[in-house]
């Protein structure tokens, strides 16, 4: 690969013109950290952010003489994932030793499933209807972390031995957007199954991308490159896009793509060669003699299946059917498990007085806007589902108008106060007293004879102006329906 030119020739022609000539073939290898209580082969905690080497014991330190014991909670999590993507679970699977020297790997080998993984042949459905094949899923342990100081390097083994699932897709993804969608969906599934927190920044969900190009219409796969350790959805898209452009350049100039392992430099938006195929290490895999064969019985699979959780796709269906909301809204509401739970909680609390569709609208517009702008967390939402439900109920019961409700919500978002309190303090309760409304209507009609005459001569537009005048005086508190009635009655009484 030429690293001399930062600018790619083909980027001038644009991405779409490349797609007219080349078909990108992309596969992802996703590493999903399981949120088990303890590590994969010992009883150490898996908590993030502990002091260096605090979560360690003789086993994960790799002390001479220690032996691994498989954590069956991790196996259960792994089975959940396999079932969620409709994959086949093997009755017999084997952990192998992947051997290499590195300071963050105290045993000199990583325990990982190799030629006999526990799970094969799953699929994941994209929104465009394409089924992406999942070739295999296997369990493995994470390595530790090297920390480089001024004069020395240090090793933190808190992460060593934390369970991971490696989920390997077939080369079925056709572009950066599909890759990102696949990754998002996989992450949502892992979070719905409660097996991973799917946190990309903390590294609990990361991915490698295999990218190759072939001329449109060709059946044979081109030479692929592998981009390592992509740690955000944005970087997945950017890195794959860059790699497609780069490979197109190489191919169009008559060269061959070299099989290399790449790193993505997000700062400059380029991939950089880590090593070529020739330097790729021989890991000398062989079955770990200390663990023996892992047997997963049909009964065990059934017991996990019996405790199955609702998956994002199932929730999308249910939301559409049970709450009569459009698919797009259902998808948006189910993107994050916690958002969906919050929504359902509010729907339940306002049942009978506010339609779920109204709740959905409010969630997707007002609530999410404040949520994102103020960077709230669902673990401790600043505006609780109780307060939000109360607000919507006040709206539904006609105590406040929609306009007032928005004002109240803004106040709630700023202060965290109870909607009742805000309404009382600011005197925002809706006025349903026809006599009071009529009095103001009469006052406005008297003050604007010109506009009234225009309206009566057929200028409908002026009607809005008159409503506005009434609302202004009432500070928006008049029941809009009653106001309409009274105003029309008064105007037509004039004619």
């Amino acid at each position: 690969m030429s690293s001399k030119s930062t600018e790619l020739k083909s980027s001038d022609h644009g991405f779409n013109s490349i797609l007219a000539r080349f078909e990108p073939v992309i596969g992802l290898e996703v590493h999903c950290q399981l949120k088990t209580e303890s590590k994969l082969f010992c009883g150490c905690k898996t908590t993030f952010g502990a002091l260096a080497n605090q979560n360690t014991c003789p086993v994960c330190l790799g002390l001479p003489g220690v032996l691994p014991v498989l954590n069956h909670e991790a196996v259960e999590y792994a089975i959940r994932m396999a079932l969620a993507v409709g994959a086949t679970i093997r009755e017999r699977s084997v952990f192998a030793r992947k051997q290499y020297f590195y300071p963050d790997l105290p045993k000199g080998y990583q325990l990982t499933q190799y030629d006999l993984p526990y799970c094969q042949h799953g699929t994941l459905l994209l929104d465009n209807g394409r089924r992406i094949r999942i070739e295999r899923i296997h369990m493995e342990e994470d390595a530790g972390k090297n920390i480089h100081g001024d004069n020395a390097s240090y090793v933190d083994l808190n992460r060593a031995g934390i369970p991971l699932l490696e989920i390997v897709s077939a080369p079925d993804l056709s572009g950066p957007a599909e890759a990102a969608e696949y990754l998002k969906k996989l992450r949502a599934i892992a979070r719905y199954l409660d097996i991973s927190d799917g946190n990309l920044e903390e590294g609990s969900f990361r991915c490698d991308a295999n990218v190759s190009l072939r001329p449109v219409g060709s059946k044979t796969l081109g030479t692929r490159t592998e981009i390592k350790n992509l740690n955000s959805f944005r970087n997945v898209e950017k890195a794959i896009t860059y790699e497609i452009l780069r490979q197109a350049d190489v191919l169009e100039s008559g060269d061959k793509v070299k099989q290399v392992t790449l790193q993505f430099d997000a700062a400059v938006g380029r991939t950089i060669v880590m090593r070529s195929k020739e330097d790729s290490p021989d890991y000398r895999y062989f079955p770990d003699p200390d663990l023996g064969v892992l047997h997963i019985s049909e009964a065990r699979i059934q017991s996990v299946r019996a405790n199955t959780r609702e998956l994002p796709e199932q929730k999308v269906q249910r939301f559409q059917e049970a709450f009569s909301i459009p698919e797009a809204d259902a998808r948006q509401l189910t993107e994050e498990k916690e958002l969906a739970a919050f929504f359902e909680d509010v729907v339940k609390k306002v049942a009978g007085s506010v339609a779920p569709k109204i709740v959905a609208n409010w969630m997707l517009s007002e609530y999410l806007r404040e949520f994102n702008a103020r960077q709230w967390q669902f673990e401790k939402p600043f505006v609780s589902s109780e307060h939000f439900a109360k607000l919507l109920k006040l709206l539904g019961e006609g105590t406040i108008s929609g306009k007032i409700a928005k004002t109240v919500f803004e106040e709630m978002a700023a202060t965290g106060a109870d909607p009742d309190g805000i309404i009382a303090a600011k005197g925002l309760v809706q006025i349903n007293d026809s006599a009071a409304i009529k009095a103001v209507v009469d006052q406005v009609i008297a003050a604007h004879p010109e506009q009234v005459a225009q309206y009566l001569s057929g200028k409908q537009k002026v009607y809005g102006f008159l409503v506005g005048q009434v609302m202004k005086i009432s500070a928006g508190r008049f029941n809009p329906n009653l106001l309409n009635e009274c105003l029309k009655e008064a105007l037509h009484g004039k004619s």
Binding site: V66, G108, R284
Partner: protein, 495 residues
């Protein structure tokens, strides 16, 4: 209370006398410590023997023994000194594995067997010499110099557990632990004229034993009588949740009753083992021992096990493959002495530390093991060796299924050879384990017991093998023989 010489008592008698209060554990400890002090240098049985340190540790154990006696908690090994091979973890003590690389490695925990010994009231009594990382058949591969044979100091003690075998033979401890990967307990037991037992794979926890060939390693026992062997075996055997290969099968009581006849027992002699390379003296004594077994009521027949001809190549492929991986952690980063040579990068530091720290035989085996696991060679060597191993296992199992109770052979083709005789000929050295490898490859229990002295006055051993978890049969049969020849007093070297 009669005063007794602790050196004249068996381990079983010592434990009884100490528990009954007829003998003070303190006096036992001092008597044995003095004997080690007097003899360990000339025999080179111990690594870094430190009488005061050992007695200090013993003092702590004495308080436990007293408390347990007071609480009437049974202590099968009350006050019995036991020497520990220097590849088994004793918390707080160095554990060198006979290697310069680990000369300063301190154990951070007790091996499961050591925990059990302490709980049984035993006195942990020194670290015994061994071939480096248990790789060798003569104890000459120790970086602490060879252990010599108590019967003739120009001859080897056998290996790899030579220090333990010689220590028990010379009565520096009534009991010792060793480890047996291809004969490392039985062959030195045979060379030194003591009883050595390698239990069934999975019968004794390997947690805390520095791994050599993980699928073959088993901790074994040294004692002067079968009765003491049964006593020690009973203490260390049993399921350990920290070792996934440990069998969860109850251990039958191991206290041997009065000897019964062997009437109806069928013993098989392996035809292939009685051919070339077997010393005539050894053959003669072996035939005589078989005659004794017949006199006790057993019948003897010959069986053919043609696959056993491949023992040596199969063993050296599997053991070295596993060793190359198990020893990877000794890289000078976290474990093993780091090279002090200046200016090394990470890769050079690995190479230099391992080049400096490992001895010749260990390097040879790591290279062999690395080769057989390498990409492109795996199927031809490692995978094939495992298939042949499985065939051997089935072949041996077939013999037992025919109704054979025990398979008998000489333990080694010769008696202890002279120091230096085979150190430059690896194959000749490897051949000294030719009869012991099968039990490790098949995972079955095997015992070596002394049956006579050759013309040079060196002990000859006979090996008995039983089906998996058939230790009781082994021990009972060997005890009948032992009583028939009026005990093992004659196998006490004059020191």
């Amino acid at each position: 209370m009669r005063a007794q010489d602790p050196l004249a008592l068996s381990a079983s008698e010592l434990a009884q006398e100490v528990y009954a209060g007829n003998l003070k554990a303190h006096d036992v400890a001092r008597t044995y410590a003095q004997r080690v002090e007097n003899l360990h240098r000339e025999l080179n049985t111990h690594i870094e023997w430190d009488k005061d340190a050992v007695l200090n540790e013993v003092d702590k154990q004495l308080a436990y023994i007293e408390a347990a006696r007071y609480a009437q908690k049974p202590l099968p090994l009350a006050g019995v000194p036991i020497a520990i091979k220097d590849n088994i973890m004793v918390d707080g003590q160095n554990v060198s594995c006979g290697s310069q690389l680990l000369r300063n490695h301190r154990a951070a925990y007790d091996a499961t067997v050591v925990q059990k010994l302490k709980a049984a009231g035993a006195l942990i009594f020194g670290r015994t010499n061994m071939d480096e990382f248990a790789m060798g058949s003569s104890c000459e591969n120790s970086s602490y110099g060879p252990t010599v044979n108590p019967w003739n100091r120009r001859h080897v003690a056998g290996g790899s557990s030579g220090g333990s075998a010689a220590a028990v033979s010379a009565r520096l401890a009534p009991l010792a632990l060793g480890s047996d990967t291809g004969g490392s307990v039985r062959q030195p037991a045979s060379f030194c004229g003591v009883v050595g037992l390698k239990p069934t794979y999975g019968r004794v926890s390997r947690y805390g034993l520095v791994a050599y060939g993980s699928s073959l390693d088993q901790i074994g026992t040294f004692a002067t009588t079968v009765q003491d062997t049964a006593l020690l075996y009973g203490v260390i055997a049993g399921h350990d949740p920290s070792d996934s290969t440990s069998a969860n099968i109850p251990v039958p009581p191991t206290s041997l009753g009065p000897s019964s006849s062997l009437k109806g027992k069928r013993i098989a002699v392996i035809e292939e083992f009685m051919r070339d390379g077997l010393d005539e003296d050894v053959r003669t004594h072996f035939d005589q021992a078989l005659q004794v077994y017949r006199e006790c009521g057993a019948t003897v027949e010959t069986v053919s096990l043609p696959h056993l001809a491949h023992c040596i190549p199969v063993y050296y492929i599997i053991a070295t493959a596993e060793a190359s991986s198990n020893l990877a952690r000794f890289d000078g980063i976290r474990y093993g002495a780091r090279s002090q040579k200046p200016g090394l990068n990470l890769r050079e530091l690995y190479t230099q530390s391992r080049s400096e720290g490992f001895g010749r035989e260990v390097k040879q085996r790591i290279m062999l093991g690395t080769y057989v696991l390498s990409s492109g060679y795996y199927d031809a060597y490692y995978a094939k060796a495992n298939r042949i191993r499985e065939m051997m296992r089935r072949e041996i199992q077939g013999v037992f299924e025919q109704g054979i109770d025990l398979i008998a052979s000489p333990t080694a083709p010769t008696t202890a050879f002279e120091l230096g005789q085979k150190t430059h000929d690896s194959l000749a050295m490897y051949l000294s384990d030719i009869y012991t490898l099968a039990a490790n490859l098949a995972g079955i229990p095997a015992l070596s017991q002394p049956i006579g002295l050759c013309r040079k006055g060196l002990p000859i051993g006979m090996q008995l093998m039983a089906p998996a978890f058939g230790e009781e049969t082994l021990l009972r049969s060997a005890q009948v023989y032992e009583q028939q020849i009026n005990g093992t007093q004659k196998f006490r070297p004059r020191i």
